[in-house]
Subunit: 201 residues, 2 copies
DNA sequence: ATGGTATTAACCGAATCGGTCAACGGTGCT
DNA sequence: AGCACCGTTGACCGATTCGGTTAATACCAT
């Protein structure tokens, strides 16, 4: 992509990024028109083609950006250093919501890209996704010290419950129209404390 | 739509319905081509236009069909007569999975249609959706008899937990590639029993 | 005015779209 | 064999949209 893109004021860069995320998240690669992205970003199609040589380049650039931002976000969220599983999950959702404020459609874009099959981008897309998809998603049960939990508690089921509810939150935030993010976070905090009172010894 | 459509063998009708659900669920109305739907259904575009005069007619027909199927499914699921909230939720998910077996993309289609804004279909679409969207979604806490639950339990949070986890299940079934439905159901059953052991007195 | 830079309107050929229509193949009747 | 019927399709049409190019703007500092 054109170096000039980086010299743009950050706000304008983000407008273009978000426009790309949004359009590519809503439609497949082939059905995401460049003029729609340009309009969404508030610039002309010509200018968009000035910064990015063609659609493929923009698409792959967005994917790299999404990967980069996600990794950086996970790192500084501190949810890996945290040993308390409840606070770990809380920090995880906190990180996701923070990201969603700045780039509302990025995660939807990344998810859709993960299943993109278009020949024009498929191969190079996989190369970008592969290392990044190996990042431990917290689907599987992490190691837990059973002594802090109530006796006889099925930790596997406990974790599944919490994980699914978190997924449910993320789902609502993306599919249930525009949402008051702060409200969601405070609701989630209450739920976390509810779990602590239920599960902890 | 053409009467002849109903005289088709049911399997072929369903193939056409599912093709429509699938394509319209993946793209917006305007970006869902008729030839793609026809190909997905294994028939020619001409034949599709023989059964449905134009794209708008097919789209609205699918919406009506989705409404009709959903209502019928909810009715016979028996999840309304059930007073036990745990069994109610279980029956609810059971009903949804049953529907998802026959019409895998119907609910995704209905959800997308709910947000469709295209001028060509917007108005007539709303007329179809309106009465049907008033069906009580079980987002809000139903009336519960506190005496059967553990003392001091926050019923509001309990229900929120269960509701969100169920949403998480539905989310996984639609966005996490093809899934073993039976496995999901049995997992969910285990979770329900887990909740009963946690929450019931 | 001048020169450089950011930005765009206008345009191009190719592809895709919704929709039409004449023809095709099979089946049963005569 | 011929004929009529019916489900089905390939080929086609005009209109629109697409990715991408280019020549010309608007803007701003000298």
């Amino acid at each position: 992509m054109n170096e000039k893109f980086y010299q743009l004021p950050e706000e304008k860069q983000n407008r273009i990024l978000n426009a790309g995320f949004r359009v590519f998240a809503r439609n497949s690669y082939r059905k995401s028109p460049m003029n729609e992205i340009a309009a969404e970003a508030g610039i002309s199609k010509s200018l968009l083609f000035f910064y990015f040589r063609n659609k493929k380049e923009l698409y792959l650039f967005l994917m790299k950006k999404a990967e980069e931002l996600t990794i950086a976000n996970l790192r500084n969220s501190g949810c890996y250093e945290e040993s308390d599983i409840f606070e770990m999950m809380y920090r995880g959702l906190l990180a996701k919501t923070a990201m969603m404020r700045r780039y509302p459609d990025m995660s939807a874009f990344a998810l859709k890209a993960y299943y993109e099959e278009d020949e024009e981008v498929k191969d190079e897309l996989r190369k970008i996704i592969e290392p990044y998809s190996k990042l431990s998603t917290n689907k599987s049960l992490p190691k837990l010290d059973p002594s802090v939990f109530k006796d006889g508690l099925d930790l596997q089921l406990m974790y599944q419950d919490m994980y699914l509810a978190s997924e449910g939150y993320m789902y609502q935030m993306q599919h249930a129209g525009p949402i008051d993010v702060d409200r969601v976070v405070s609701d989630y905090r209450k739920l976390i404390d509810f779990w602590k009172s239920l599960y902890l010894r």
